[in-house]
Symmetry: C2
Subunit: 157 residues, 2 copies
């Protein structure tokens, strides 16, 4: 038998992924997302290999609220986000057979005013509308570290 | 001063909305959604006028898990959903000035095999991909009550 967890890249995050870790709780790791379609997009990854929200333990669910509160307050403070778009989708895992889903959530801050970062302005052209799921990353690579440090500096205690 | 809650249609759900109530918990009402872009799509509406996940109380968050578990198990049992797509977006409220957001979550069951209902087959053409946010309702109106009853019959206790 092949161990499915050994095939799960979310159970085996690389150092490259981990360099963008904003904070962690007992059960969750919160990263600045690779795909910056909306500036400040983050991912909350369950530390345990778990397939669905309904599979979370009470402790993991309670702990998720702490992570949600902390990153939502951070995005509202640091980027003046008016709201946050939350999603937990898991679709891509089901392209494999058998699927090896690993629970994670996406959060996209949505900002009426352009985000100002490192001298660049990033407007949200779809504000007040559904995020564009096909939108490509808009963040200039030279601004990624500035964004990461800016968010780190605005994480509530 | 105009009371913002009197302008909130989510605080004042009509009898027409309420006829599709699947179940409720202390803090949440769970409805079959009007928009059946994916068969079995439901909405979880916070009973309190509340703007964001980070504004939920501990009790409301704990109670949300019960609602999530119940509807996710129901959708997997009744429709053979392989997974559920969860989202909490709130974008449309921000078309108004001032916005009067009322917290709710969407859940779209995603099914590899077509859902069979009342003699009709409903395939999920985007399975393993992001739901199409512009997709129109696909449910035949004559199948809506059958779907509602089918879900009610599969709600876990």
């Amino acid at each position: 038998m092949h161990d499915p967890l050994s095939r799960c890249s979310w159970c085996n995050l690389s150092d490259r992924d981990r360099q963008w870790l904003l904070f962690e709780t007992e059960s969750w790791s919160v990263f600045l997302a690779d795909e910056q379609d909306y500036i400040g997009r983050c991912m909350l990854v369950c530390k345990r290999h778990c397939a669905a929200l309904s599979d979370l333990t009470t402790q993991e669910w309670t702990d998720l609220k702490q992570a949600v509160d902390r990153i939502e307050v951070c995005l509202k403070t640091a980027l003046h986000a008016d709201l946050c778009n939350w999603s937990c989708l898991m679709n891509s895992f089901y392209k494999s057979d058998p699927p090896v889903p690993h629970l994670h959530l996406h959060v996209r801050p949505r900002c009426k005013q352009p985000v100002l970062l490192n001298g660049s302005a990033y407007p949200d052209a779809e504000f007040a509308h559904h995020y564009d799921p096909k939108k490509k990353s808009v963040l200039r690579e030279e601004d990624r570290m500035a964004l990461f440090k800016h968010l780190k500096a605005h994480l509530p205690l």
